[in-house]
């Protein structure tokens, strides 16, 4: 989808040379609003009911109102962006940063649980929302006038499966509840990637005649996209690690290293677009691999720079999207199209919101039960309070949902009734979930997980707590695995692989990583120790 816009920018740029004064004014106002969001967001940080997303949404809404008044109810927009802008400029930094900042130790320790929630859970949620929307909208509402196709219903499923867990992550403390934090964070990013891949798979698929064969083709297509995109991202990350390790050793240049990391990340994204893969998934895994290998091969300045640059880009991109959604919510043209049936519009939004709640409940509790079955230690199990927190964390809808909705429902004619209906109800769901659910999040989490001391003790009793890994890079290969094995009984048989698959996969991965991957591609412990080097455990404030 990004190809057209890229080619457009590259080839058509500057061919129209009419100087548009108004659009520079708009751009100035927009940048000023971004600055305002950052400053006001900072001032409101003490007030933990608010967060950056809500601030940006509210500022966007207020600006929309002001513009509506000054243009006499004609427009609420400062700028009109193509939905491609989201996919070329705004989503890649958000997703890449999510991969780059992910706590790999916890991520891989809880890999099975995270994949269960992030991939399988998203699929369950997708089917429930798609089928539910198809059934309820056809039965209860006289929706046939909108001429919704099967592709539209599937797209709705993908759009409303994409969660936004930033709000909950700001409340959770990763030192108090490491398991919960890593599951919520990990699920969030895998969920984003899965829903985008699902969305792309649907878009590129012929839905005119469906039978069991095409269903298998669809699953095959999905798996092909998922696996090949992942592999491409991993390869790009490893290539960057190898180049920097081989060439730059002993003679570092921060600017070159930072430039190379950024360009390689962008290159992986473009290459995935070129091969018609899911570029979002590719940059996500490129980010993970880069933070696991490449990041350790560069100078300390490069580490600080890349970490904060990627986080900043992601942060700005997210504020940008919420600010835009806030303004877009007041698009008067769109509301006029749906204004003859306000009841239908409200019903549609409420049904979608209900399906979101249901779709999430339908996988969080059963999958938690499944996940608990494989765990022996009671500290690794997810108790019911944590299950409710996980359920709640994924109720907010945000940037990815909006981007997918714009992509699907502004592609053809934006003035079409169906498209106006879908965009307005997506905006309603995003606004409602972000602002209402978002405001409730903190009191709820504080009520469910009241005493920090309870969780601190839980963390310290947990075998091989994250902190014990910090000093490991100073030890050699073998010792590293040994020190790990002192706490956890070594899984030595097939039985272990069946009962604790996640832990076991992590163990074998570590062995492989230490004995082959790190010596070749660098990484923690395989580069000279720099005193005062920043560790990965610094809090990432924005995911």
């Amino acid at each position: 989808m990004a190809i057209s816009a890229i080619s457009h920018i590259l080839t058509k740029l500057g061919m129209v040379s009419t100087s548009d004064h108004a659009s520079v004014v708009s751009m100035n106002l927009f940048v000023a609003l971004l600055c305002a969001c950052i400053v006001i967001g900072h001032l409101l940080e003490e007030n933990r009911w608010m967060n950056e997303s809500i601030t940006a949404l509210v500022i966007g809404l207020c600006t929309g109102v002001v513009i509506l008044l000054t243009t006499r109810w004609k427009s609420s927009h400062l700028l009109v962006f193509s939905e491609d802008v989201f996919f070329i400029y705004l989503l890649p930094p958000i997703i890449f940063n999510a991969g780059f900042q992910v706590k790999k130790k916890q991520f891989f320790r809880n890999f099975m649980t995270i994949m269960l929630f992030g991939a399988v859970g998203t699929l369950i949620s997708f089917f429930i929302i798609s089928l539910g929307a198809m059934y309820i909208l056809n039965k209860l509402l006289n929706i046939s006038a909108l001429e919704m196709s099967l592709g539209d219903y599937l797209a709705i499923g993908a759009i409303f499966s994409a969660t936004d867990s930033v709000c909950t992550l700001q409340v959770l403390n990763q030192d108090e509840t490491p398991l919960l934090y890593s599951v919520v964070f990990g699920e969030g990013v895998v969920n984003d990637a899965t829903s985008v891949v699902l969305f792309n798979a649907i878009q590129s698929f012929d839905l005119s005649n469906i039978n069991s064969k095409t269903a298998f083709q669809f699953i095959g297509n999905f798996l092909y996209l998922f696996i090949s995109s992942t592999l491409l991202g991993v390869l790009a990350g490893l290539l960057s690690a190898y180049i920097i390790k081989k060439l730059y050793f002993g003679r570092h240049s921060t600017d070159r290293e930072v430039a190379l990391m950024m360009l390689m990340a962008y290159f992986s994204y473009m290459l995935a677009e070129l091969c018609n893969l899911s570029a979002i998934l590719t940059v996500f895994f490129c980010g993970i691999v880069m933070s696991h290998y490449t990041w350790h091969n560069v100078t300390e300045s490069s580490r600080v720079t890349t970490k904060h640059t990627f986080a900043t880009l992601s942060f700005v991109a997210e504020i940008f999207i919420f600010l835009y959604v806030g303004m877009d919510a007041l698009d008067i043209e769109r509301w006029k199209l749906v204004s003859d049936s306000p009841a239908k519009s409200v019903k549609l939004s409420s049904i979608l919101l209900g399906l979101v709640l249901l779709g999430r409940a339908a996988f969080v509790f059963p999958l938690s039960f499944l996940s608990n079955l494989t765990k022996k230690s009671k500290y690794d199990k997810i108790d019911w309070k944590q299950q409710i927190t996980i359920w709640w964390a994924g109720l907010m809808r945000g940037a990815v949902s909006m981007a997918l909705a714009y992509n699907k429902f502004t592609q053809s004619d934006a003035k079409l009734r169906k498209n106006a209906f879908m965009i307005t109800s997506t905006i309603t769901v995003v606004l409602f979930s972000t602002m209402v659910f978002g405001l409730i999040t903190k009191p709820l989490v504080r009520y469910l997980l009241p005493s920090p001391k309870h969780f601190t003790s839980m963390t310290s009793s947990e075998p091989s707590s994250p902190k014990s890994f910090i000093i490991e890079p100073l030890l050699s290969n073998g010792q590293c695995s040994e020190s790990n094995g002192q706490n956890v009984p070594r899984p030595s048989s097939l039985r272990m692989l069946l009962t604790t698959p996640s832990r076991s996969v992590h163990h074998y991965w570590r062995k492989f990583d230490d004995s082959f991957m790190r010596p070749v591609f660098g990484g923690r412990g395989f580069v000279p120790f720099v005193p005062g080097s920043p560790t990965e455990r610094d809090n990432p404030q924005w995911r």
Copy 2:
């Protein structure tokens, strides 16, 4: 000039949705080539004959040849960019970074000399090249067929006044020759800004009927652009410093600070475009003010991040331009247009190159003489070897010249004979000066300034060497000025102001800075001292 492209991007983006596979392939290749330039540039770093610019040019030329062969002499381009891209995306980071990384201490100490060379010198060079081109091209060549207007000659003057001193700066050592380094560096950035402002002033000026009144109008216009752009940049920088100092004190957030600094820099650029000022000059002064105040108000991580991010962006933008110029040099269409008169093309390039040499000699030696008259200490005087080095440092033509030439001579019809002639000769001058002069630079500078020890002793005997300022921030206001006064006799009378104006201006500026500016806007010495905080004296590898 950037307005049209910005508005175009914002409003027209994505309206054409034909998916162009070829252009994504091109983009991939281009990013891969950028990576190759960085890696090969690093490998060739030991070989001090080469530098990054030459590497990028050579890789661009080689790629151009390969594309010519594969497309069977039809095209040498991977991508065709509008010249606006240079001004919106590539020049701003280069110029902002130049301002951000400038050694302010040395810059303000040698402020008069730098402004003399950078502003007055560029004007002299501009007049000599413009008048010389007009005279010689009319007399010696039968150039009337090209229908060059007065505006074209003035544009040629501005285009070939913009120097590129990166190559010389890589050879000079700022600890061995601080005066020379700061003059060459400072002159380079002031020169860039001056030539862009000149170019804009010419573009926006009615040249149809010239008399003494319009000449004064032109000078007034130039001064208005220069002063108001500078003020806007300073105000934007101070605003960012004030916001961060007031709001963020004691509760820092690196991502917010970095985002705010980047957005404010971009905001100053957009605001200058909005007011039809010289955006390049605005970001340059915004960069200086930001590094003098804002940079000291943020966390250590933010300092490292902003410093390296700006340097990296500038570095990538410069490689990008040289790579593009390398490929563009083989534009077969353009060469066909000039191929019927190869002698004329060669003559044109040689004349321009001669004028560049002459125009630079015409101000470096007289202005050095003037500058030496005002200096009493023999260590502050510029000896003839240093004069030759300054002269040589400004002979290379690079990114800015190319960007201005693309802007002027591809705006209308690129297929016009005149435009083809001017672009090909600009490319010839850039290629020749960067590659031939660039390769000679190191041996020449080593021959002229042979013994590092000579200059080390010179530095240490110099009153208030840069190093003595390093510990000053730890002292309070008054002490700071006192310790400065211990070495330099305090300028106490009008006589001092006349004989050593530069030193005196610097002295009064410091007093004002310490007693008013820093307490309000922060800056070194007015924020809590952070141990291990990076100082500004770290080598900037790219200017």
